[in-house]
């Protein structure tokens, strides 16, 4: 499949944004569940910054996704078909999440209605989960692309959202001096997320390399069992189908690109966490750089996700 850069940027940024909102929701809910009100103004300020950054990341992501549309001015129509279309559902959930985040920001800044905040945080958590699931299902529901139908695709989108959202959170909170205990927890969580994500991706790559298309060229032309070879293509120059579905560049360079992305999204965050643990006064810059590199690694991973996926229509060519 042809990797449209705007779509790669969108899933990377909005993934990190919804991941950040998930962690922010957790941070807000935790004291509320323990029956505590926020300790001081600094905590509320941190929440506001997290929510605002989550809103910016998801909004920039959504706007960038509009650039791959042929008619961006009609994008509002995409909210209408939520009953059948995962793309439509994604749009609806994204807008609802955004509205809840804005409501929380307004309430936090004006300092009113404190009891409503945890309820809204829970709602935001749920809606963010739904948005990530919808994004993943857009791909996982497409039967002509077996690599996207794989059961690890949906969990993959969740772990990447959790990992990149966590790293963005770390890039923010580590600029203030944290206790050794807090840093210890941070290192553990970073290692756990990076290892889970790397393992999931390694298993996924291993599986799709050995996956068959599930159909032969004989099936595609109605002669199952016969050995069919292309003799003459219908078009002398590449057409839309060849350009959009028949992308071969990535399969040639898959190995180094996989290594690069794994290094950036899994190894770099672990090194950053270890450096921050060894040198707490360096934690801020180290985690910021680590988060940026991990996001670029995610971008490479998304590129591979598209470029390596074979579409059944390629059987005809």
């Amino acid at each position: 499949m042809h990797p449209a850069f705007s779509v790669l940027l969108f899933t990377t940024l909005s993934g990190a944004g919804y991941g950040l909102l998930l962690w922010a929701g957790g941070l807000i809910l935790l004291p509320a569940l323990q029956g505590r009100t926020p300790a001081n103004g600094a905590t509320v300020l941190l929440w506001c910054v997290l929510l605002l950054l989550g809103l910016v990341l998801t909004t920039v992501g959504l706007l960038s996704s509009m650039f791959h549309l042929g008619k961006p001015m009609r994008a509002w129509r995409a909210f209408s078909q939520w009953r059948t279309s995962w793309l439509s559902r994604e749009g609806v959930f994204a807008v609802l999440t955004g509205l809840v985040v804005v409501a929380m920001l307004v309430l936090l800044v004006t300092g009113s209605l404190w009891p409503v905040i945890p309820v809204l945080a829970a709602l935001m958590l749920l809606l963010s989960l739904c948005t990530i699931a919808s994004t993943a299902m857009i791909y996982a529901s497409l039967k002509p692309i077996p690599a996207w139908r794989h059961p690890l695709v949906v969990p993959g989108y969740f772990v990447f959202a959790m990992l990149t959202g966590w790293l963005v959170l770390m890039a923010l909170v580590n600029w203030s001096a944290l206790s050794d205990q807090a840093l210890g927890v941070i290192v553990l969580v970073t290692f756990a997320l990076a290892i889970v994500t790397a393992l999931l991706k390694l298993v996924y790559w291993h599986r799709i390399d050995r996956q068959s298309l599930g159909a032969t060229r004989g099936d595609a032309v109605g002669l199952p069992g016969r050995d069919v070879e292309v003799f003459e293509r219908p078009n002398t120059q590449a057409n839309y189908i060849n350009r959009e579905m028949g992308h071969v560049l990535a399969r040639k360079h898959a190995r180094p690109l996989r290594a690069i992305s794994l290094l950036l999204f899994a190894v770099v965050p672990m090194v950053a966490a270890w450096l921050a643990w060894a040198n707490p006064q360096m934690a801020g810059p180290v985690f910021t750089l680590g988060a940026l590199l991990a996001l670029s690694g995610t971008l490479v991973e998304r590129w591979l996700f598209f470029a390596q996926a074979r579409h059944l229509v390629t059987l005809y060519y």
Binding site: M1, H68, L69, G70, K71, P72, R74, A75, R77, A78, F79, S80, Q81, R83, T84, S85, W86, L87, S88, G91, I138, S141, L142, K143, P144, I145, G214, A215, R217, G218, D219, A220, V221, G222, L223, P224, G225, R226, D227, V228, E229, V230, F231, E232, R233, P234, N235, Q237, A238, N239, Y240, I241, E244, M245, H311, L312, V313, Y316
Partner: protein, 255 residues
């Protein structure tokens, strides 16, 4: 609405005979000609006379080489190698994923006759429908920013300004070998349904479950007697059996 309508009684579609198709591309060309001015107009071309021409076609004719077989799922008897000409266009599926994935309601399946169409005024050009189609039936127009597809010549088949005999898709009318047939595949008594039953018409990629309405008639089994089975022999000449005159000529000419 991208909800699918309840299955229609009438299922208009095409039956394509792979036995008689000669791969002349007349159907593709006449489709392009009619639809450049019809319901889905324009059928944009980019740089049609330039170095790298590109354009939207609803119908494309592939040619394949089919290897000889000793017998397989689609043919019990041994079959020689052959060329297969294969016109590919929208199959107007019974459960088309291209319709249900559409976020805007631009793609729809008509409740009355099952034709799958795009309302280009609603299409946002997200291309998701083309990803959902394993048959490559949908082509995006870069110039207009919307998705295009076969309309089954909806603007011909009901067109009262045309003579009754011309109320059929342009590709069907153009076919010089009558390899394309148009009709109601929902009616078991229709000519096309009987043809499918008689010739063992098949669905393409039935395992995906989109239930294509269009059917393909596989090539009729080729005769497989000794004449086709034995390869041409080397020519040998038994000079001893020749009359003396010709034997002498052979000897002179062989020098």
């Amino acid at each position: 609405m991208t909800d699918l309508p309840p299955p229609s009684k009438k299922k208009l579609g095409l039956v394509i005979d792979l036995d008689t198709c000669v791969g002349c591309h007349a159907c593709a060309v006449s489709c392009k000609e009619w639809n450049a001015g019809g319901f889905a107009a324009p059928l944009t071309d980019e740089q049609p006379y330039g170095k790298d021409p590109s354009g939207v076609w609803f119908n494309r004719v592939h040619s394949f080489e089919v290897a000889a077989t000793e017998g397989c799922a689609s043919s019990a008897t041994p079959q020689p190698a052959m060329t297969l000409h294969f016109p590919r266009s929208c199959l107007h599926c019974e459960t088309p994923a291209c319709v249900t994935v559409c976020p805007t309601g631009a793609s729809y399946k008509r409740a009355e006759d099952g034709i799958v169409l795009v309302d280009e005024d609603k299409c946002i050009g997200c291309k998701l429908c083309s990803w959902a189609c394993p048959y490559g039936a949908r082509e995006y127009s870069e110039v207009e920013g919307v998705m295009k597809k076969c309309t089954l010549c909806v603007d011909r088949i009901y067109n009262e300004n045309l003579a009754e005999s011309e109320r059929q898709p342009a590709c069907v009318q153009a076919c010089p070998t009558r390899a394309r047939h148009f009709g109601d595949l929902g009616d078991p008594e229709s000519k096309v349904s009987k043809l499918v039953a008689e010739r063992g018409g098949v669905d393409l990629l039935p395992q995906l479950g989109y239930q294509p309405v269009n059917k393909y008639l596989p090539p009729r089994p080729r005769r497989t007697g000794e004449a086709t089975a034995t390869a041409p022999q080397d020519e040998t000449l038994d000079t001893a059996a020749l009359p003396p005159m010709l034997r002498w000529l052979d000897r002179i000419l062989s020098r």
